[in-house]
Structure formats: C-alpha cells, structure tokens
Symmetry: C2
Subunit: 220 residues, 2 copies
DNA sequence: GTATGTTTTAAACGAACGTATGAATTATAG
DNA sequence: CTATAATTCATACGTTCGTTTAAAACATAC
C-alpha cells in the first residue's frame, strides 16, 4: 500500500508492549506475554529490536519525542513574545504531558504511565534513558524558570521544580487511582480541569514567598 | 540473652531485603540475592516469611508503622490545641517521612525508598498493601485538611493533596539524583532545610486562590 | 542421658526467563 | 520463472526464579 511503514509485526509488538509495560510494569513483562498477546512469534522481538531495552526505547521515543517537541514549541512561542511569566512556563511544561491521552488516545496514556513507573523504579534500565529523552527540555525549561523566578535562589528553584515534577509524575501515573479513591469525585478524564488545577498548584508553589529559614545565596 | 527477639537469621534477612528492595527494586530482587548477601540459607525466607510478599510486608511494617504513629501523634497534638492551620498539618504529614533517615539511619532511608518505588510501580504487589499501611493516616489527614481548607471545594482539595503526595514521594525516592543533577547545589542531606522547602511549597499550593476556571460545588 | 520441638541445611522441583539458531516462509527484483 | 533478500517460524539453549522436601543440627525440658 504506502511506503516504508514499520511492518505489521513491529507495530503490533510496540503497541502490545506499550500496553503491558504500562499496566504490569517493564521489569515483570516478559517477551512471552508480549508476543502471545500480539499474536506474533517469540523471536520477533529480538529480530526487530535486538533486546528488551531496545524495545523499551523504541516504545518510549515514539510517543515522548513528539510530546517534548510540543513542549519546546510552546516555550519557543512564549519566549518569542518577550519574557514569559511563571504560569505560562509551567503550562508549557505540564500541558503536553497531561494531554497525551487526547493526542494519542490510549497509547499516549500508556507511554506516559511507563515513564512514570520507570521514573520511580528504574530497575534494569540504564541511567542514560532519561537523559536521552529529556536532556533538551530539561535544559530549556531550567533556563526559562531561572529567568522567570529571579527572586528565588538557585537551590530553592531546583527543589521546587523537583516538587513540581513529582506532582506531575504522580498525577500522570495514578490519577485513575485517585478517581476511585474519591468515589468519582475527582474526574481524571476531565483534562482541561486537571491541567488548570495542577498549573495553579505548581505556580503557587514555585512563586511562594521565601521564608527566612530557607538558606540560599545569590540566585541566578 | 534477652527475651523473644526475632532470631538472628530473621533479622538479617529483613535487613538485607530492605537494602536490596530499596536499591534494586522489589520485583527484580531474588531470594538468592538476599540470602547469599545475608549469609543465610535459601530456604530461610520461606521458613520465616512464607512468601516473598510476606517478607515485603514484614520489612515495610517494621519501619512504616512507627512513622505513621508519629504522624498521628503530631496531628493529635495539633488538634488538641484547637483547629490547626494548613502549614502545621502539612508538616505533621511530611516531616515524619522526611526524617526517617534521621530516626532509623540507612534503614529508614531504605524503607521509604521501597515505598516510593512500589508506589510508582506496584508490580506483583497486591492493592491492599497501601491501604494496609496507610488507611488510618489517610483518613485522619484528609479530615484535617478538610477543616483547615474550608474555601477549597472537596474535589480540588483531593487533587491538591494528590499533588503534595506526588511531590513528597518523588522527593523521598530521588532526592539524591537531584543532588548530583545540580552538582551538589541541592543538598539532600540537609533534612531541616528540605522539610522547610517542601512544607512551604506544599502549603502555598494547597492554599492557592481558586481561579474562576476551576469547577467544584460546595466543598466539605 | 533421651525425647521433643525449632531452626538450618543441601538438594531438587517445575516453571519461566531473555536470547540464539537454522530452517521455512514470504516478499522483491530481474 | 529464478534468484535474493527480508521476515517469520518452531525449537532449543543455558539461567534463574520462588518454592518444596527431607534430613541434619540445634535448643530445651525432663
């Protein structure tokens, strides 16, 4: 039909692995789980992806790279219009992640969940996985926040960004659990509201006044 | 010597498992890893703990129960002095967790790290593990925040607590990574400062003014 | 001492793991 | 069609897994 698309088998493997990694976890998902559910031969994974780690990287890059590109485009647009405020930068950082489900349907949801799980427990995953995926966005956003939060010392700024990332990762991974925990009171499928809530929360945390007790030299 | 203390073997297994679960992850740590490092026989785990899950629960309860007890004591003390403010409740919730290393040394650090990892990726772990450990503290603190945040609708309150828990879990698990990422600028061993930073951040996020765009009926 | 109950031991179990291999199958091209 | 490359296949390899077993070692009480 069309040109050099990935073969059906390769596609089916990635889709199934994406789902199983997300629901069961990377380290406990076996090749046999993946291939039997995908309806392909056991050896196909090693043929197409060399190793389990190669499969993981392929699965993640397929979804995470577009997400990060969107983040950078939003940040570019902001900075083209002058020095952006904190809330706008927060939004550029969080919204593409939270809207993965809207963009890619269940696939986006799964990819983001894999990421969150690995983030908390990178068992059997090399350290360079995250820097491979996030080096550029990390540097760009770190610099942007540095400009937008001149009153916050560098160490404090890093800590607060750390907290924001934790809140985001936790939300991406377990928001469904929250919905059932609160008996449906918290609606995890209302993305607009969720974005709004976490942006407000994170902006307030990032811009909180410095108490006297917090140390920190000249920020930059 | 003294009375019915856990046998040396049982103790050594728990200590070693605690360490390996924390550093390598629960699902990828094998009985052979544990027993060989602990210097005990392979069959000793099944003899003393019945199963891998039994061992995990024993390891967690040993450290997490005292932590939660401290949380409840702090909250009791606060509520005995009248209606506590948000920052005090936040502190009662976060400080016992962040000070686990001070209380139990490397053991506390390990236990908390296991928890954080399982939280993000509960692979092969039953759902009731977390409710077993946290049911009481969850209910008590949910109620306390409900009283201290009368202006925030219930759904929004749950979301914000969700964000705080994410920030905390992330900090407990990966604060060492942050230290090396920032080339030592963020000092993960300065517990006092860390507590102060996250309490300020979380309080600001929890008490942020409601934007018009956020829905939510009558809170309670 | 013997008897009794607890703990530790070495060895083995069947199952599942990631990976490799070489033959069969399918697609592509001349 | 034939030749050539890409893909899929059944099958096996060597490990490691959590768990079990039955005997050995130990402790304790009489």
């Amino acid at each position: 039909m069309s040109a050099p698309q990935p073969s059906d088998t390769k596609q089916k493997i990635m889709d199934t692995a994406e789902k199983l990694f997300a629901t069961d976890g990377y380290s406990v998902t076996s090749f046999r789980n993946i291939t039997s559910e995908a309806g392909v031969n056991l050896a196909a994974i090693n043929y197409h992806f060399q190793s389990k780690e190669g499969l993981l990287m392929a699965v993640l890059h397929r979804r995470i790279d577009p997400m990060n590109q969107q983040r950078l485009e939003m940040l570019d647009a902001l900075e083209a219009g002058g020095a952006p405020d904190v809330e706008s930068i927060v939004r550029a950082m969080l919204e593409p992640a939270l809207r993965m489900k809207e963009r890619f349907g269940v696939h986006g949801e799964h990819a983001i969940r894999i990421l969150g799980k690995l983030h908390g427990d990178p068992a059997g995953v090399p350290d360079e996985l995250f820097s491979d995926l996030f080096k550029e966005v990390f540097e760009r956003f770190t610099a942007a926040f540095s400009s937008a939060l001149p009153g916050i010392p560098a160490a404090e700024r890093h800590w607060r960004l750390h907290f924001v990332i934790g809140a985001m990762a936790h939300t991406l991974v377990t928001s469904l659990k929250l919905e059932e925990l609160t008996c449906g009171l918290c609606d995890a499928s209302d993305t607009d509201a969720m974005v709004e809530r976490i942006v407000v929360f994170a902006t307030a945390g990032l811009t909180a006044p410095l108490p006297a007790s917090i140390p920190g030299g000249s920020g930059s």
